[in-house]
């Protein structure tokens, strides 16, 4: 159970010349519910994206189960930010959930009855089965988030990467999701959650990664989630770095 799930070594990511992540190194054991916290623009989402190769780092490597992401893709499920997609898109709830099977099935085969049944079960788990035929634009934000999570459940992964699943959702949904995540953890899965609300951190997670461009801390909640680290994560010390980075960007762009 305490096998090392995620290992990051000297990871740096730039958008243009601005550092978003700077020299991150960390290891996380399996079977945990991990919160990734930090202020806006601290690179929380980028950390997830970079570990899956969705954005390419300038240096560093990321390994899941000691292997690069590409080799263990099947074992990892990603839930992007709800706001990153167009919810007016003409698909139904069921269609979206069914996309969770595409990774295993490949993009050219049509889903079989068994896959559809599994998709229904995933919807049932998040309490959204009654909405299967709905068009996604008719959903509330909490319902949208549940659909996204159902899609990830269908992937039957060992590691779940969730980007801001609690942003803008109602209390009932937050409760449903956290119960579900706890259940997954009990099954031995590892779950990473990008989170912005500090009040529930010690209640929800048993491991935190505190980020502000640089890594502030990564460890069990009771060890690292304390005032001093919070100060360093949310304090003003990082602003200087930000300004310097912007200056360097303008200089090198010749503006």
């Amino acid at each position: 159970m305490n096998e090392e799930i995620l290992h990051i070594e000297n990871l740096s990511v730039n958008y243009d010349k601005t550092a978003v992540l700077w020299d991150i190194s960390l290891s996380v054991p399996g079977g945990k519910l991990i919160g990734i916290i930090g202020p806006n623009g601290a690179g929380k989402s980028t950390l997830l994206k970079a570990s899956m190769g969705l954005v390419s780092p300038i240096t560093g490597k990321v390994e899941f189960y000691g292997k690069p992401f590409k080799k263990v893709r099947d074992r990892i499920a990603y839930v992007p930010q709800r706001s990153s997609v167009d919810w007016d898109f003409p698909v139904t709830v069921f269609d979206v959930v069914l996309m969770g099977i595409y990774g295993k099935l490949g993009f050219f085969k049509w889903p079989k009855l068994a896959h559809k049944e599994a998709a229904k079960q995933a919807l049932e788990k998040v309490g959204m089965l009654a909405f299967a035929g709905r068009q996604i634009s008719q959903l509330s934000s909490g319902q949208q988030q549940r659909v996204f999570i159902a899609r990830a459940l269908l992937q039957e992964a060992d590691v779940y990467l969730l980007d801001e699943p609690f942003a803008g959702v109602d209390m009932a949904t937050e409760k449903t999701i956290i119960t579900l995540l706890d259940k997954l953890k009990a099954e031995g899965k590892t779950i990473f959650v990008v989170h912005h609300d500090l009040t529930c951190v010690d209640k929800y997670f048993d491991w935190v990664i505190m980020l502000n461009t640089c890594l502030i801390a990564s460890g069990p909640v009771e060890d690292v989630f304390h005032a001093e680290n919070l100060m360093r994560t949310y304090g003003k010390s990082a602003i200087l770095l930000d300004e310097a980075a912007k200056l360097s960007q303008t200089k090198s762009a010749g503006l």
């Binding site: 899956m52 969705l54 590409k70 898109f89 996309m99 990774g103």
Partner: protein, 446 residues
Amino acid sequence: MNYSLFDFFTDPVFRAPTIGSMLMCLASSLIGVLVFIRRRSLLGEALSHATYPGVVISLVIMSLYFPDSEEKAALGILIGAFAFAFLGLFVIHQMETKLRVKSDAALCFVLSSFFGLGILIASRIQITHVSWYKKIQLFLYGQSATMTDIHILIYGALSLLIIAFLLLLFRSIKAIYFDVDFTKSLGMRVNFFENMIFLLLVLAICIGIRSVGVVLMSGMLIAPAIGARQYTHKLSLLFVLSGFFGMFSGFFGNYLSVFIPLVLQKEGEKTFSLPTGPMILLFAAFICALSFLVAPHTGLLSRSMRIIQFRRKCVVENALKTLWKKGIGEGAKKQAIFDGLKITRISSFFVLLKLVRQGWVEKLPSKNYQLTPFGFEYASRIVRLHRLWEVYLVSYLGQKVEKVHRNAEEMEHIITPELERELTELLKDPKIDPHKQPIPAKIGEL
């Protein structure tokens, strides 16, 4: 002369233009769906204009080196248009990524500069090579009349290619266009497919400009998709409907451009013909407008129907409420009921008749009106919703007691059973409203 619809598929003069246009419209309306759901409608507009200099230049080259071969000229123009559309796409992409120009500005820039270049070259030819110039003009607004069987072949093949592509990659397209990041995380080579789609878009434009012209091409991409979107939320159905709308437009555009002049023409006048391109587009726009009007869910007609139904429901429920307040026993006089409703006497009368007919209200021997047990239950629920809502507004939203009545007047007709349940739970099933009036108990729990 008189032609039946069927003749357009068999007559040697009309066959090629009709079938050619239909195939071309099919291709562009299918690709148009992709552009439309990606919210990049203007891209079609920019790229179709960008083909114009390609058309002009290749026509000049073809006329110089292969003056006799129609087929080679057609192919050459296709290649020229294709090359310039791609150049336009490249410039737009570079401007957006390297120069950080906003998308709409980059599109406008490419549209006008490329088109301007085309016009410039064309106007030079106008004086020296009149016959070339006439051919070039055809591509501005489209002319399907001069199409031959070879065009059917080319367009048919390209349409088939596009359909095959859509069938094969339907699910990938759905996944990519809905959620790029997720699809990438599954290991899909997203960039490759996006480029394929751009390639098909450019292809569809290049074959389309022959029928509807550079200027109107983007409408042919978008109009069928917009029309189809009014009917469905399903991507697959969107493609099918859009394809059909496209083909209809292609056919009727051709048909009407022959038929309308025949009708309008007076005895002894010279025959004239209407250009097919604008006609095709107008027909597509007509389908689109019709869809806005009659589509079952989003259409204007059905929406106004629903509004009227809702208003009627409000009136009926208000009448029931008035009767409820009179209580059971003596009943209420007709006039008293009418006074409670803020509508004309005559419509009040019909509302009352309707209530009797539907069994909510009965007429007593004294000619007074009274609620039936069913009507009483119905009315109790409305009063309950009204007062529950008032409690909610006052105790949870901190509204002033005297101000909540108006809002509740509206909400009592809107609150669903689910909302009622949640309200009841939240407010712990209150018995008294802010005006100290009793709240009727929930039905079934009396």
